[in-house]
Symmetry: C3
């Protein structure tokens, strides 16, 4: 059977892993923009930063950084608001990546995320070494 | 050219495969909660069980089980109903997995699925041996 | 660090790649049905053809064709319209593939795509040699 390296964390740790490594691929669960108290700030830009902070935490468990991310899907609840702030969003994201991001991206508008206060969820795949 | 092992089944077998294996990765098409007559029960919990039964059928074609699943994306039409029943859903899912699931999960609310009676579609990736 | 082969193109080339190759897997960003002037025709069938044309352009950068695609996710804004035209859509798609497509497919209805004129976005994964 396949060898998986799991990283469990958060309130649903008994139901899914935040990361699963098989071979040199790391799959990540979708990450949302919650702070240490579990609350999501009103602004999508702030939520995006927090979602990437969670992604970085998961990647760190695998000795990885944003450099290892190869694709990301953005699920957003308000595409209009997202596109109105796209310069600000992509500017802040570039700082998080530390350079021009070397990733694919797909961005779609969803009807809802798990909590009505969430505006963005980011799902990534990373590749090690 | 890449060697692919396909598993075709169902009304759209001429248009897509339910599973495609390349190397040790098996990609699965999104599975919905239809019964043998092709109908979907009203309750999302019952639909979820049927969707996993379809997933297990596809995996079996590759000699695989739920143990091989590394990530799943849930597309649901009513996140509120889904979260209201999350204990029941995750309890029934844990029985299907037979243990604490070793998978990533992303759950988003969609505007619609292929048929208006469908409440959930589950898309998985599995890795063999 | 992982070796990535990037293909950058389009107005967001500084923010994401249209394709990222790692090992023999090529991840593609979601492609929409825009023409050379950047406009999207009204009909989803025409948009689908253009989206696949973009996918073929990205694949060509990796020496690949539709034969290399192993999974596709269709994000559509109007599932009812999509299913009403499913024969026409899948017929045109079969011509693009040049044979019975050897891919998995997941099709979900989204609340919105990046531009209100877009009706379909297709996200693919391809595997080389």
């Amino acid at each position: 059977m396949v060898k998986k390296k799991l990283f469990r964390s958060g309130p649903y740790a008994d139901f899914f892993s935040q990361g699963v490594q098989v071979g040199n691929t790391v799959y990540l669960s979708g990450q949302v923009g919650t702070d240490e108290a579990g609350a999501a700030p009103a602004d999508i830009v702030e939520q995006m930063k927090l979602a990437y902070a969670h992604i970085q935490s998961v990647l760190a468990e695998y000795g990885a950084t944003m450099d290892n991310v190869v694709e990301e899907t953005w699920f957003v609840t308000d595409v209009g608001d997202c596109m109105a702030k796209v310069g600000e969003l992509f500017g802040a994201r570039q700082e998080i990546y530390g350079k021009t991001p070397e990733v694919c991206q797909t961005l779609v508008g969803v009807a809802a995320l798990v909590d009505p206060t969430y505006h963005i969820e980011i799902k990534c795949v990373a590749v090690l070494a």
